[in-house]
């Protein structure tokens, strides 16, 4: 147990690529927490996908012993928070577990929208914030301009910002000193009943479910009988440890400390981020405020390309769900795609991460159907229902009106791209809320329908701004709009997996684009294939895929028979990668590529 005065808990707020992981690596290295030979890049991003995408999906932590210049040794707990908007709630909980933040800004780039959102979350959590300018070794760095920007845009005093290069190690000792002297120590009552926050949890194949906790009041010991106040579940603590970053057993955790426990918890689903952990016999009076059960906002269908892999997919999804309480799923049957699952995600990144993991870790080829948001359908008889899947749309005659979820989006962009960004937002039915300038960068705030953002908005934004824009959003509520279900018919048969909800005013253009895309994505067949978009029984767009004209081997003599037969078998295998709709074979990638709106 460490004295409160000698503990500093902090997180690092940074935009992707601004150097958060590298700085964390340097802090770990400089304090000798990890032996030099065990260092690897981005120590804290454990999953391949995290390393590849340069993002943090799960919270992670490291405990560092730091002998300060004043001769005292401090325990520094760094919680590495997820940095993406999809995980905004998880970020807010992680922030509540620490008292301060390092705000890392790339001195060549400046403040980005994502940074802004996370700084506000940190300020909401009452953090003390130390600005850190990274990459000052680069010739393009402009520390003074960026300091001015931090003051303008965020309103933080940047006069004492620390200039560092996480790459070369310049300024790292000053960062460690600033953590000790500029960030507050935690507070808490050692003698009060146990009150700890469940910061995150994950599944470890050796230990089972591991729970990260921050002790607010009281003391937690191995063997304690604990209770989760939100779920009511009770457990006995089997193991108590801190992360250095590998697990190191510890006898007890006192106020202000951060550590992990295992307690024979079977499923990660049984643990809720933000829950309050207390002693079963002597509980605290009130749980911590701000707990929210996680709520999926984006849904899509995941189907195995090969129907025979359905059970494998079920197995993969169940295993992933054990480790991710925010991911929901239920079985779905599609006339077009057979058996699969309708899955709910926190956002599009979350969707992509889960999909990638199924394909990669479980080796199952997937068809992903059009992502959909949750619509509220108000029927004429006064009942309201939530629509997760356009295929479940009730008879339009019974519908009074439909509400769709909306977001407030903040986009920061160099002013030369502002026109393109405004056009993109306008095209996506956005309503401008605000437009301000900080130097040569504009900050625009738009009220947008979530369904216009959910699919490829981020890709389009990156493409029209050559990657210079940054984007963040939060859900802002529901609004009634003129929404219809658009169906796609291939060879006169509706393909349910391609149907989608669209705004009536945009349906014609969207339908035309879908038909044109499908015409390119579906290979020619021996007959011509009409491709149509329809609302109810009315066709709003139509393309015709002309019939295949020539597909014959030019030379086929005695020596070619064996080879040719193998080729036919290969083509037969290629056909398996497609799904058959009536007489038409549709390749798996057509389902997702047909939705991209880059014209």
């Amino acid at each position: 147990m460490t004295d409160l005065d000698h503990i500093r808990n902090f997180s690092i707020v940074a935009h992707i690529d601004h150097g958060k992981s590298t700085l964390a690596d340097r802090l770990i290295q400089l304090t000798g927490t990890v032996a030099e030979r065990d260092m690897k890049e981005q120590m804290l991003d454990a999953m391949d996908i995290e390393r590849e995408r340069g993002i943090t999906i799960k919270a992670n932590a490291v405990r560092i012993d730091y002998p300060a210049r004043n001769g005292k040794t401090y325990v520094l707990n760094l919680i590495d928070t997820p940095g993406h908007v999809d995980f905004a709630y998880e970020v807010s909980r992680s922030m509540r577990a620490v008292e301060g933040s390092l705000l890392v800004v790339d001195a060549t780039q400046g403040v980005e929208a994502q940074t802004l959102a996370n700084v506000y979350t940190a300020l909401d959590a009452g953090h003390e914030i130390v600005p850190v300018l990274n990459k000052i070794d680069l010739p393009a760095s402009e520390p003074d301009r960026i300091k001015a920007q931090i003051e303008d845009v965020i309103g933080l005093d940047a006069s004492e910002a620390i200039e560092i290069s996480a790459k070369t190690g310049v300024g790292i000792p000053e960062v460690l000193e600033a953590i000790v002297h500029r960030l507050p120590a935690p507070t808490g009552e050692r003698d009060a009943p146990l009150k700890a926050m469940l910061v995150d949890s994950w599944y470890d194949s050796y230990l089972g479910v591991v729970v990260m906790v921050r002790i607010m009041d009281g003391v937690m010991r191995k063997g304690d009988q604990i209770r989760m106040m939100q779920t009511g579940a009770k457990y006995g603590i089997d193991k108590l440890a801190v992360l250095r970053p590998q697990m190191t057993d510890i006898a007890e955790l006192g106020p202000g400390e951060i550590g992990v426990l295992t307690a024979s918890i079977k499923l990660v689903r049984d643990t809720r981020v933000g829950d309050t952990i207390t002693h079963d016999k002597k509980p605290c009076a009130e749980p911590l405020p701000g707990f929210k059960p996680s709520q999926p906002v984006v849904f899509c269908g995941l189907f195995p390309v090969d129907n025979a892999e359905f059970e494998d997919l079920r197995d993969a999804i169940e295993k992933l769900a054990l480790n991710d309480a925010s991911f929901s799923y239920e079985m779905e049957t599609s006339a077009a795609l057979g058996f699969g699952f309708r899955c709910g995600f926190l956002g599009l990144l979350h969707l992509e991460v889960i999909r990638d993991r199924i394909e990669r870790e479980y080796d199952i080829d997937l068809i992903t159907t059009a992502p959909s948001v949750v619509y509220k359908i108000h029927l004429r008889d006064g009942t309201e229902l939530e629509l997760h899947n356009p295929a479940d749309m009730p008879d339009p005659a019974t519908i009074d009106h439909i509400d769709e979820p909306r977001i407030i989006a903040t986009i920061m962009v160099p002013d030369e791209y502002l026109g393109d960004v405004l056009k993109l937002c306008q095209d996506r039915r956005g309503i401008q809320q605000d437009l301000t300038y900080a130097g040569s960068r504009a900050m625009v705030v738009y009220d947008l329908p979530l369904n216009e953002v959910v699919f490829d908005f981020h890709d389009r934004l990156k493409s029209v701004t050559k990657g210079y824009a940054s984007f963040d959003y939060h859900l802002s509520g529901y609004r009634t709009d003129n929404l219809v279900k658009m169906s796609i018919l291939v060879n006169d048969e509706p393909v349910d997996a391609l149907s989608m909800m669209v705004h009536r005013d945009r349906a014609d253009a969207r339908g035309r684009l879908m038909c044109e895309k499908l015409k390119d994505l579906i290979p020619r067949h021996m007959f011509k294939i009409p491709i149509q978009a329809a609302i109810g029984g009315r066709v709003i767009a139509r393309e015709t895929l002309s019939a295949m004209r020539k597909d014959v081997t030019a030379k086929c003599y005695g020596g070619d028979a064996t080879r040719k037969k193998k080729l036919l078998e290969k083509q037969k295998a290629g056909k398996k990668k497609m799904r058959q709709f009536g007489k038409v074979d549709i390749p798996q990638e057509a389902f997702i590529n047909a939705l991209k709106m880059d014209g």
Partner: protein, 406 residues
Amino acid sequence: MLSPSWLLAALPAADPPRADWVEAGFGLYLHWPFCQSKCPYCDFNSHVAASIDQPRWAAAFAAGIARVAARTEGRVLRSVYFGGGTPSLMAPETVAAVLDTVRAMWPVANDWEVTLEANPTSVEAGRFAGYREAGVNRLSLGVQALNDDDLRQLGRRHTAAEAVHAFEIARATFERVSFDLIYARQDQSLVRWQAELDRALALAIDHLSLYQLTIEPGTAFGARFAAGGLRGLPDEDLAADMYDATLERCATAGLDAYEVSNFARSGAESQHNMLYWNGGDYAGIGPGAHGRLTLAGTRHATVSPSAPEIWLQATEADAPAAMVWEPLSGQERAEEYLMMGLRVRQGISLARAQAMGVDPGLSQRIFDASQDGLLEIDGDRVRATARGRLLLNALLRNLLVGESCG
């Protein structure tokens, strides 16, 4: 569902099925594996060698032939085909030695066809008379193009003028001469192909092979194509237009498309190639050569090692690896019969296919394809229509794999 029972009713009374070599003849293919240089489009088994010991090769061919002959005694040989590689690099003495062995091993038909593939260079034309002496009676010249730019692009070592000259010598030497052209070349327009084809037809005697350029993996063109090179190849529609124009012009000139890429006046068809397409028996001798031989009622596929030196050593040592025999199931045999037989104008015999052992759904699939205008049924014969032949690969995928490929 419409029952194709009338199809079954049309079948002749169950005669015992006859062996493939009786049904469609027996021939011999010889593979000469050497070329002076490798053409960038060619995926045949060919090798460039500094020096070739021709007497040693002649002896090895003779040994290979004797081994197959021992298992096919008494069959009447209808044709011999020297393919490659570039068989016109063979010394006439080598060809003569092979043909002497052949005559000693099997009774040969009076009108047997002995074809040799040749490159139309002046050097090779100098050997034509020697081949004639040895017993070759049909020459197939790889002209490939009638303009020099395209010949260079195709990696050929002769000019158009040289090719025409070689053709003149060939026609004065052999009873029968055919030549090959490749169309759908890079940046070739329909009009240019038509003009080139007209010149070819003016030159041709009674047989032409006209192939669409196919980019095969494992060739120089294949690698260039995969790397994003080789632009300006015609798309499917232009290739189909070129094929249509080819059919039309050849028909006007009196050459009928008796097979997908082969055009001839009636009676001038290549007998040896017909044997492949009609599901006959053929021995394949030489590196990488394939054969199909029916022994005691079972059809076998034979394969030989592709590397020239390995084949040579295995054959000289009389090792089993020199020619590996694999029995074909009835289903495999029927699949090959359909695959090959639907390429030719007269199509296949349904009774023969059924006797080989097709799956029970085939009649229905044939009937469905006839309803779609891809096949036509005429008594026992099933033929691809003009459209069906142009879509033969797609048609075969449906016929042979049927519902199982859903």
